[in-house]
């Protein structure tokens, strides 16, 4: 095993002092001076309607209102993968809360008063609030112009219906597969919508100066993608990428919710019509719940065939997604799961239909896990049940069918190296799976739940990362990259990678938040790909800098580059122990020669990474032939759950989660992902969910009734386990883990409830109420 100096070490986070002292600057913390204006959005009060008239006259009369805007001012479309939405609603609103108009005023108070004076006249249309209804014959069509929407080539919309995209994956012979099976089990699972609940709401400020330059400060995971989408949307106004600058300060939590573009387009667009001003828009917590991306709702129909010995022969997995009113981002969630709904299993005969369906609910989009949590709730519940049905131990069943390196994925490519079996073994051991757990309290029972998980980054095949690195006089380094540290510790890990290559301590490397004018391109901080992709770019930039250093030393001192290496901020030589040239002596100023002239100059490294083997051009009817996913990260989890039989109250006594990080660049940060991600996952299954009334109005747009876990709600014990089966193309073998940590939570709880009480709950969330009432019914029968 290679002995690394900084890689694999739990280095203290480089952003700690800033964040813990209160110094860290978030978007809302920036002062803009006297010419700052505030926007307030007028939102749709109906889920589906024609806009007959918007009367802004009363608002315009209010002193302090600078201007009122409606959709007429911005007839421009935008979207990441499919351009299906407008900056403001045009003739139609498609969800409760959709932006209809904006009042821009001198103070937030006046803006709010102004917005209350805007009168919108609607003619209501039937609202479709359920994806199965939207699929039915004769359903109201949300997007009659679907056929005209530009989209990426790997989407397959069905114009004339509410199907925005249908990912079909076919492999082997399904009929034969089921014919070979000794036992077939079919069931339906349901998952509601969820909200990210980053503690910082969305906020953005647009400023269009008199020279025609647009700067947007935003709380975002995607500075470059935002710049590109702003440029595309605002191109009719003559703006190009070079005219737009996106600055992204610290982000107060993302979880996918701040990927792509949602409300940020509003202040960006408004600013273009208010030259010289800065225009600020900050979502309230209620708006955050109502009008940003949400996790998509799911109805999944599963049919699994197995032999007596436990071998899986066939899987038919139909997943119907409630993708909301606009699917410009959410359709890719559907796509990703449509390629991966076999889970981490070797299944020869497969049919997957992943159907993206428009509904009159807020737009679905990226949420930590990108659809895999929803898919795994059904699949891993199903696996536990079918193992029990054939009388096989569920762990053994999973071991037997676990996907191994070289096995074929659903789309036919070979599975990457992975430590799935090791994860199963380590979790089983850590949780003492075979131990009899029994409560001493007669009101309580204890159950055990297990789940595997996997997930691949969902990205366009050409998603790329790049990095600049510049040395300062004292051999400290500015590492200039455009990924976002949304809390996962990205900046620290990138500093570790550069440190390892260059022999400079990470504490001497400064990584700042990005500015698209100064920092090189990064696709976005999503998909758990950033450690892998940006890490590769940073490593290349550091190697580029190192090569420049070694070439210079070779040129000046006539030493072979092969004999030179970097350590302790100096160039050293394998063949000449006394040689020690401190980096600080030359990385900016160059090396002095005998005649007083200098060689070299500032050392600046550059690196870029794009996965050139990736391709999304699989067959539309089978998904065979491409290589859409770069790799999968796998793992396993188990927990011990105590349940009060009468109240249904549940407590996780112990949970273990193992994840194959390839190489843990900073083990403590991975453990932090496990502790945090697992709790987020447990919350989705135990108490969170978005509840809508029959008019499409969210009933719980606040933390009073959308319950996210508090310090009182943590498991008694979490055992984080790191597996390291290297990813061949990852930096030092690393692959991403950020999203995965929450994936096993829901099926583990469902499985533990069945284990303890003998009841199988197939709809999330599995609240205390649901458990208590189901068990009451079960007992009465």
């Amino acid at each position: 095993m290679t002995d690394y100096r900084y890689i694999g070490k739990s280095i203290t986070r480089i952003d700690g002092r800033e964040k813990i002292s209160g110094a860290a600057v978030y978007t809302d913390d920036i002062d803009f001076g006297a010419n700052l204006l505030y926007a307030e959005i007028v939102s749709s009060t109906v889920a589906h309607a024609l806009i007959l008239n918007i009367d802004t006259s009363e608002a315009e009369k209010l002193e302090g209102v600078v201007k009122v805007f409606t959709g007429k001012d911005f007839p421009y479309k935008f979207g990441l993968y499919m351009k299906d939405r407008y900056i403001f609603a045009q003739d139609k609103v498609r969800f409760y809360g959709e932006q209809v108009a904006a009042v821009v005023a001198r103070t937030p108070q006046i803006a709010k008063m102004g917005a209350e004076l805007v009168k919108v006249e609607y003619q209501e249309l039937p609202a479709v609030l359920d994806q199965m209804e939207a699929l039915a014959e004769g359903a109201t069509i949300l997007h009659p112009d679907l056929g005209d929407y530009p989209h990426v080539p790997w989407f397959f919309p069905k114009p004339g219906t509410n199907v925005a995209h249908w990912r079909k994956t076919r492999r082997g012979d399904l009929e034969n597969g089921f014919a070979e099976a000794d036992h077939i089990y079919e069931e339906t699972y349901e998952v509601p919508r969820y909200a990210h609940c980053a503690i910082e709401t969305h906020v953005a400020i647009g400023k269009f100066d008199y020279s025609g330059r647009l700067t947007v400060w935003s709380s975002s995971q995607s500075p470059h993608t935002q710049r590109n989408l702003f440029a595309e949307a605002l191109a009719p106004m003559g703006l190009s990428q070079k005219d737009i600058r996106v600055i992204t300060p610290h982000v107060g939590g993302g979880f996918g919710g701040k990927a792509g573009v949602t409300m940020e387009i509003l202040p960006a667009a408004l600013a273009t019509k208010l030259r010289g001003y800065a225009v600020k828009l900050r979502w309230t917590r209620e708006q955050e719940f109502i009008n940003t991306y949400q996790r998509l709702g799911v109805v999944a129909k599963l049919k699994l065939g197995v032999k007596k010995d436990g071998t899986i022969t066939a899987l038919d997995h139909k997943i119907y997604w409630d993708a909301g009113a606009y699917v410009e981002y959410g359709a890719n969630v559907v796509n990703a799961v449509g390629l991966s709904a076999i889970g981490p299993y070797r299944i020869p005969n497969v049919s997957i239909d992943s159907v993206c369906i428009y509904t009159n609910l807020p737009p679905g989009g990226a949420y930590r896990g990108f659809g895999y949590s929803e898919m795994l709730f059904g699949l891993e519940s199903h696996i536990t049940t079918i193992a029990r049905q054939i009388g096989m131990d569920e762990i053994e069943f999973r071991r037997k069918n676990a996907i191994l390196e070289g096995d074929k994925t659903a789309y036919g490519a070979a599975m990457n190296p992975n430590g799935l079996l090791e994860a199963i073994d380590k979790v089983t051991k850590a949780i003492e799976w075979d131990k009899e757990y029994k409560s001493t309290d007669p009101n309580k029972v204890i159950g055990k739940g297990f789940s595997l998980f996997w997930k691949a980054p969902a990205m366009p095949p050409n998603a790329s990362s790049s990095a600049f690195l510049k040395f300062n006089e004292d051999a400290s380094i500015n590492l200039i990259i455009s990924g976002m540290d949304i809390g996962q510790g990205y900046q620290t890990v990138m500093a570790q990678i550069a440190a390892e290559v260059l022999g400079v301590d990470p504490s001497k490397i400064r990584v700042e938040t990005p500015d698209t004018d100064r920092n090189p391109y990064e696709w976005q901080t999503v998909a758990s790909h950033i450690t892998w992709s940006s890490g590769n770019a940073v490593k290349k930039a550091a190697i580029d800098a190192r090569d420049q250093i070694l070439a210079l030393v070779e040129r000046v001192y006539h030493m072979s580059q092969d004999s030179l290496y970097l350590e302790d901020e100096a160039v050293k030589c394998h063949n000449q122990a006394s040689f020690n040239l401190p980096l600080r002596s030359f990385v900016v100023e160059g090396i002095a020669t005998k005649d007083g002239s200098y060689r070299g100059g500032p050392i600046n490294g550059r690196g870029m990474f794009m996965p050139e083997f990736s391709s999304a051009s699989g067959d539309p009817d089978t998904s065979q032939g491409g290589h859409p996913n770069v790799h999968y990260t796998v793992g396993a989890g188990a927990l011990i759950l105590e349940i009060d039989k009468d109240t249904g109250k549940m407590k996780v006594l112990k949970a273990a989660e193992a994840i194959d990080a390839g190489k843990a660049l900073n083990p403590d940060l991975i453990k932090g992902q496990i502790t945090g991600g697992l709790l987020q996952g447990l919350a989705t299954v135990l108490y969170e969910d978005m509840r809508y009334d029959d008019k499409g109005r969210l009933l719980n747009p606040n933390f009073t009734d959308y319950k996210i876990p508090t310090a009182m709600d943590v498991p008694d014990e979490i055992i984080p386990i790191i597996i390291e089966v290297p990813q061949p193309d990852g930096p030092y073998g690393a692959r991403g883990v950020g999203e995965h940590t929450m994936l096993p939570a829901a099926p583990m709880i469902a499985n533990a409830v069945e284990n303890a009480l003998g009841i199988r709950i197939r709809s999330m969330p599995i609240t205390a109420e649901k458990v208590a009432m189901a068990y009451k019914k079960h007992r009465e029968q």
Binding site: K444, N700, T704, K707, P709, T710, M712, A768, M773, K776
Partner: protein, 297 residues
Amino acid sequence: MAFSHSFEYFRPGTLAEALSLLDQYKGDARLLAGGTDLAVHIKENMATPPVVIDVKRVTDFPGSRVSPKALYLNASTTFSDIVNHADLRKAYPMLWEAARSVASVGIRNRATLAGNICSAVPSLDVAPALLCYDAIVHVASSSGTREISIHDWFISPRKTACLGTEIMLGISITAPAVKHSGIYLKQGRYRGEDLAQAGLGVLITSDLQYRLAYCAVGPIPFRARAIEAVLNGKVLTAELISSAKAMVQDTVHPITDIRSSKEYRLHICEVMLERGLKAVEQRLNGAEFDSAEILGG
């Protein structure tokens, strides 16, 4: 969040000043104590008072007194004052437990018992305790003071017997003359801060008198007197508890809302009754435990 509503602010230093402001502005004024409800209501346009009278600096509210026999808590008393009061905890465990179950430290440091009682929400955690202890609410107006029994206090959701020209001075409780103990059980959606799906206060005396009061399962918190009547004078047995539980369906009439279904509320009311009775009996006999664990945490 910006307020679209503006108001005039007064900060009287004495009760007389406060009452005279209240008379002056009649129905236009709202009293501000901890503000943890009022600030939200004003922000969300649920309240638009032209005048806000901050009573936090009123210095002449009668002083609070706590003894095992009687208790008086004045209008300045915050929930943290109650939670941090060791003697109160010992003598009135049900009230203490209810106070501790309200929100979290940062709210309890500010929110007052008086403000809370005046909010009269159906899920009012301290209501079962006040109902079980037969509390008296003391109010003052410019024409004098009056006492209102807690049993007459709650009129309907968010409406009390306190008139717009009155200011609450405090609440008083006289403890039962014989040995007694109490408990407050609260069912929330999780262990952390939550509004009650259902709450139950149980008081028991050594001469086998029982007092029961529910919150969050009806428009106003209420005493379950019919169930008390079945229990009074009898030693707790499994049969007795069963007959008490059987009465829940006819005594409690909850609704379905975002926090719970009606069916679950009814079910929980039964579970609470059984466990509450058993626990409070143990407590009367000297057992020590955390009531938050009684319903499974």
